[in-house]
Symmetry: D4
Subunit: 218 residues, 8 copies
């Protein structure tokens, strides 16, 4: 497995990452994992790869865009001294363009998204052993759907940023699409954005494959 023994993994993101984690919990302590893919990643690492002794820290916050990540980057990433970092961000950057108009919110443009993303990677890469970029995703197969199109645009920016800094990129959207070939999104989400447990299992599996969990030996 790619993660070294005894290392610390911080997973940052939005509500897909947060999933009801207790903000008052100690890092990796009771209630700190939430109920989503971070919790499943921790369950697989602890239960199936116990000799690795990986510390998993959930730093997702509901509703966050990359602009919010930037504001809390120092305390939620740098100050925690992670060995590894995963980032899944972008769905709210897009979503607010569809549901934030009546609130007259200032949107996160592709340019802002790209520049902020790159700046954060630039700053953080020297401080950690690796950073995993997870694509934002939308559970809709119709590629002409306006929100799907927009999410893909932002995912593409994330992919390029990963490439630019030679970081692993996890194409979650591709995993979701594969699922959608067989079953409707209704079994994994109520609103095509927030997964339930089976949906989060898809995300966790994608991440665990990327870090090289050897499923058949565990």
């Amino acid at each position: 497995m790619m993660l070294e023994k005894g290392s610390r993994l911080v997973m940052i993101g939005d509500s897909v990452t947060d999933c009801g984690r207790d903000y008052n919990a100690a890092p990796a302590g009771w209630g700190s994992y939430g109920d989503g893919y971070v919790s499943l990643v921790n369950a697989c690492l602890t239960g199936l790869a116990p000799e690795q002794k990986i510390m998993v820290v959930n730093k997702g916050v509901n509703g966050d865009t990359i602009r919010h990540l930037k504001n809390r980057w120092q305390q939620d990433v740098i100050d925690l001294h992670p060995d590894y970092l995963s980032i899944m961000i972008g769905i709210n950057d897009v979503w607010r363009q569809f549901d934030g108009e009546l609130q007259q919110l200032e949107v996160v443009s592709p340019q802002e998204y790209e520049q902020t993303y790159c700046a954060l990677l630039e700053q953080t890469k020297p401080l950690v052993k690796n950073i995993f970029i997870l694509s934002p995703f939308f559970m809709e197969l119709n590629r002409n759907d306006p929100m799907r199109r927009r999410v893909e645009e932002y995912a593409e920016i994330a992919r390029k940023a990963a490439k630019k800094y030679q970081l692993p990129y996890v194409d979650v959207q591709a995993r979701i699409d594969r699922y959608l070939q067989s079953l409707s999104y209704f079994y994994i989400s109520g609103d095509r954005v927030h997964p339930n447990l089976p949906g989060h299992m898809i995300l966790a599996k994608a991440f665990l494959d990327e870090i090289g969990l050897e499923w058949n030996q565990r």
Copy 2:
């Protein structure tokens, strides 16, 4: 994978199986899975093997011994017409011998356990495609611990019953023991009996391996 497309899997057991499932939920409906290994099995089957379209039904009940299973077998197994059945039972049969003395409870002897188990398998095998016997387990490496010894004795009876009826046997205890080589039980249980999510992941993985989920292709 061993389970046929569109088939129905009923998983029966005690509190390790139950895990807070909503008894009023429709089978495979909202809240029907609980928060334990059944929920994880369903998450993996739905999320990672969606084309199989497996219906997963949780029929665990807190506190049950095999004597309780027998009493509800008709309505909770036979009447549901499962294609596949899994059974994990025995920890309470043993536990009550340690914590039921002051209540003067009638214990389930090894003889009663064996006879009831065999009778249920005898009755049910012709009605389903397969039955998976999951061992009861106790999260303690010391094989001289009195409860561990007793649980092993009952697990051995379950193993023999599986063999007698040529049914697959999942040695959950062995998986737990492997985990305990690396980490204390505190990360997967508070009382060495009831797993938390990482503990349930060990159980789910053991079952999914048995039914042949092809991890590397998903």
Copy 3:
């Protein structure tokens, strides 16, 4: 206005109609209206057309298909002796075909939908002054979306039934589509099925237009 003074209007349907109404409330009593279009229809009739003194009765039930309506038709429609009746049903008949597969539910086929709908109209038309057929709808403009296609198919059946019995048909889908030309569905629904208050206002307006509420004189 088409509704006679002092008449009784029963509005039957599924969760879009129900909207949290208190099942223990007296008809037209406290808490009986729910929070959806029935409540808005009552608010407009009582507040804007008080001299008409229309009694509005909500008989929506969460999760209902036309099969459920049939089962409770006697007590929830016939026994209430309505002067007017509105029916909005079909979304669950379709939805269960997309999210009910893993529960192995028996679907309501187009044939069953049509036959049941016609039988209910046949039975009820002689007993009331008029019946208003409201189309089921799905808040998605992409007409190739599989659920939208299926909903349209059932809406078409409802339209034909209305025509066959010469009953007014309210094309709610068309109103929703008009809205979607200007704004995303996110402002009127979280899941494209259940409207929020602005969404319900579209439904109420469509119904009130059909019964001829004279907006400019009120």
Copy 4:
């Protein structure tokens, strides 16, 4: 319609305006509308006139008199940079004269009401596109009722202020009176001051008529 596309409408007032809005909600965000006429105005504007994209902001506060409005005018009106503003205030200015005597409260005299109202309009008119003055009202037809008399006196002051600054005046009392010709106040209020949903529909309709929502084309 009188409101320009993409404009921002702030509606300020007392408990009739507030109606349980969440004070922690973002402007025009989840829970920000309350359950009264502001919510209905937003429902009609969003659902029936979506291409207008009006942002509706509720700034009602329970128990407020015009003296309270003055104290929070800067932060609740000026700082929000509204394009349009509606004001409905005065019932508590009057009510406290009837139910505040035992608390020995300092009443808002007609003079204070007039001077404050005019000062606020004077200050704000240059900053916005329009201000809508909504009359306070009391649901009682007997014009000799002491509270009705007093409310009319204050409404008259509001009307004169509107005239003085050439602002549209919405005579809500007249709408209420029209309703009361047909039905008792019991259907729209428990205490003749706080409307229920049908009562709020009367208020919303009066306002929407004033801003020229074209009902028959929507």
Copy 5:
């Protein structure tokens, strides 16, 4: 005092009498009194006239008309073997004529009110030592108010019934009117029907005067 030592007083009525009494409480037991005039009557009799040892039983039920009283008369009056009985009924008989129209409720006509009242008195008078008739009331001085007029009409019927059977009649409306000469109804009620504690004190005082509690000697 008119009530004999150790006697049992049953006070029957509607919500003005009920006032949140615990229906599961034993007669005169904990929580049985509610928070209204019955509770105050008991407080004065127990606290100020302890040597009389009067048992006070509250049998008010929210929403009741005289038609409801009739239906529960056997179990709530006769079966309790009261020495004394008080009756305060009529406000709902009238109110439903104003707020029950949209529910199409069958009203209690003056004829039904009178006949039922007399029948109950006829049946009960021989079984008890005395019956106190308390007038229904409406907290409104304007005698042309439609509800006030209607309440007076029913109160007049109650007065005549009292006279016919030579029973004491307590004119609660007169006491309320005296209060309203000095202060607005807002200090004793939110809706002119349900008193708060000061309002209930007026009722209790009227009753206690009737039974001859010697205030100055206690």
Copy 6:
């Protein structure tokens, strides 16, 4: 009546006075009265003597001794500018001598009680129209009971202070004793210290008699 029209009465004390009043309530506002004798005094003054328009303010605080009163005297008495003041204090000064020993609390000696009481009266008498001293009391007839003896000792101090400053003294203990001649304390208190509603009625009656409420004319 002794209290002038439109005057303000502040009633200060301990838990017998407090009785669950809402500390956040405005003086004489909703929830400000609690459920004890203050609430009954207000109910009688408002309901039975409305033309007097007395403002009643509850300033009881659970657990207070005269030492606590002193600490909050400025803000809870002086700053409120009462016309009339009532004080009922002393039971906790005594009680803590019986139940505070294991907590090693510093007791309020008779000397401290007397000096503090006199200092407060000295300071306040010139600022108000009158001060009513209400005796502390204990619901026990046995005058040799150690707590009864001690309460009497403190009551005697209060009586002397009243005499010294020529203030009216209300002997609540005497009223309680009269009640106890007829009935057990169980009907008016659970612990002989905290009255229930009938018990509070005794207190309220004692106070109202002192201020000269003309019972027979109301």
Copy 7:
């Protein structure tokens, strides 16, 4: 110790025995003990005399008199086949004579108390190994207090019944009196009837001494 190994002890009584036990709990199961002396007896027997393996069953019921005990004797004593039985009853038989007068309750006379007590002992003695009679008690040293006198009278009856059937009698009142020589009742009870934990410790100690728990060897 007097209780044989592995025996079953049923402790029956009123609220002093009940102390919040869960009526749905299995005998000697979770939540079955309540929070009073039964719980402390069980804690001492299980924790300090574990080799005795005594099953302790709480059968107290709030508010019971001996008349209630008689009604549930078959199911709560006989059907449980106790080896040992303890009975503490009588305080409510007395208390209702002091606080039940206004409810006109039928009291349990000394005669009824004695006859019922003896009948129960007569019936039960042959079925069990021993019965422990615990005296009712009242936490008041003044022997002229009317309730103390009455409790003593009933305790005397219990003592005589114990003697008549040669059963051990535990004089709880004497223990309480000894305590009251040193400290006020306030530290062990709020109302002189219901003990808190220190009070229950006195009761438990009295019982455990009677059955001969060897404190110094444990």
Copy 8:
């Protein structure tokens, strides 16, 4: 008894001591004792040795190690001026070595435990009459169990510290071991660390024996 009359006993420790005590309670006040051995110690001292008048103060805090004790020593021990002090600490110092690895917590080494313990005793001994050292314990008889071994190691350090400062040492582990000879740990704990009431009785008895409560004379 070793404790002098009227003295103050502070009992400090971790969750075994805390047991749900109310942190806002006054020392020795309502709710201040929690539900564990401190509460039982107080119950025995107050109920069985009332003439001693010992004040018992619970200063346990959930999750504390000796490092935490050090941080709050001034305010929770020194500032309270205890006459006697008991300390039970160490289980978390050990436990975190087994369950804190994934959180990467800094463990309390035996050296830190010893040095801190000695420093606290050195500082405090001159200020109090005596200090009772209670051993940490683990409810497991297998002395090769890794956690049992580690707890014994820390208990040994505590024993030596007691010896060094000539303080009484209470060997709680020995008491627990004696219990475990007869019954499984399930009757006194769910997790072998936190006792239930019978388990706490063992602890309380051990402490009370140490301070010389004369059981047979009480």
